[in-house]
């Protein structure tokens, strides 16, 4: 078993959480949030179809480029900023140790 990584997440009320995320379970950040019972809907189950899991990436980690689907969804989401990503598209890998994110407002 590989080691868990730490994700630092600020929720919509401004509270900072440290989440432990496994990197060998094919989990994405939206799922990690749900597993920690954070208020992330993830309505579409992780298909970049709903934007309910939008977050802002605050640290300088190198993330994979957003797919066309994610780009298209972000173009229809609200409160989008330069550093917006859909957390369901961020796969937990060892390189993401220490990732800092903030949940975007839910509409």
């Amino acid at each position: 078993m590989s080691e868990d990584i730490r994700i630092f997440l600020t929720d919509r009320r401004g509270v900072r959480h440290q989440l432990l995320a496994p990197t060998d379970m094919q989990m994405n950040l939206m799922e990690v949030c749900k597993a920690h019972e954070l208020p992330v809907e993830g309505t579409c189950g992780g298909m970049a179809l709903c934007a309910s899991c939008q977050c802002y990436v605050n640290s300088k980690h190198l993330l994979s480029e957003p797919s066309d689907d994610e780009e298209a969804m972000l173009a229809e989401a609200f409160h989008v900023k330069e550093n917006s990503r859909l957390s369901c598209q961020i796969l937990m890998t060892p390189e993401l140790e220490g990732l800092e994110v903030t949940l975007a407002p839910n509409d």
Binding site: T43, M47, S52, D69, A72, E76, F78, P105, D107
Partner: protein, 350 residues
Amino acid sequence: MIKTDILIIGAGPTGLFAVFEAGLLKLKCHLIDSLPMAGGQCAEIYPKKPIYDIPSHPEIMAGDLIKNLEQQIAPFQPGYTLGESAVSIEKTEDEQFIVTTDQGTQHQAPVVAIAGGLGTFEPRKPPLENLKKFENQGVNYIVKDPEFFRDKKVVIAGGGDSALDWTIFLENVAESVTLVHRRNEFRGALDSVEKVQVLKNEKRIKLITHAEVTALKGSEKLEQLTVTQQGTTIDLKCDHFIPLFGLTPKLGPIAKWGLKIEKNAIVVDNSLDYQTNIPGIYAIGDVNTYPGKLKLILCGFHEATLMCQSAFKRIYPDKRNVLKYTTVSGINGFDGSQKQAAKSTIKSIE
């Protein structure tokens, strides 16, 4: 007043399958759904995507799953109230429930099964300051009657199929149509994208990309809106603004029916029959919660089956009932149709 045995709120896969299981017990069902079609999430969110965990279907499109369910339940002639949301429920003295929709349609049944999934799908609203003020005063989230927009100045925002489709359609009706989108790439049927390209080339519509609507203005009604395009602002005269950013589910009015709610879902007794804290009201499928709950289609099917058995006992407390295999009993539709396993041929060998 529409009368039935089991009134099902929500025509997603769970509600649809409940009709079948009820039919086997000779119970009639009526379905209410706020969407204009049956199918719930499968129809609204991912009709063209495959599902791989429906038992005995190695792969099936969500839309096909719904089509098959509709076919399977057709012999039991379910009634439908579509495009209306169930908003209130009351209990009569003789243990009947009356459920009323937002359009005032009343339904009566001794048993109510809530199969409301994640809730009613509501339009996603852009975060604009006086959006609420102009709702139905120029801001419309759906196009019910295109004639309403005849000879009007219309601005549509969004980049999906509905934004494209309504741009194409309203171009024929409205005085002018402007489509605003944050990118110049659209995710919609290729055919629609190409049609909009033609309309733009022929200057029959105005397309503003890399832009979004940032302000609405008007005294009583919407009169003007501001589009911000890469830092610069454009003011447009406008009678109607139609933001089309898809739908999002909200549990909605059901949350206020006195049912025990946890984590945005209805608490049920899963060890028995998926009944809620109000006897006679059941909750099945994605809308319920209990220890170990999984929001999966196959779980909804199972819950619907047990619910129907319990509903039967509630409606006919004195009737005895035993489980029958469909292979043995066949299907006796309320429409008179019959399906039966072929009798085995028995022939002697001389």
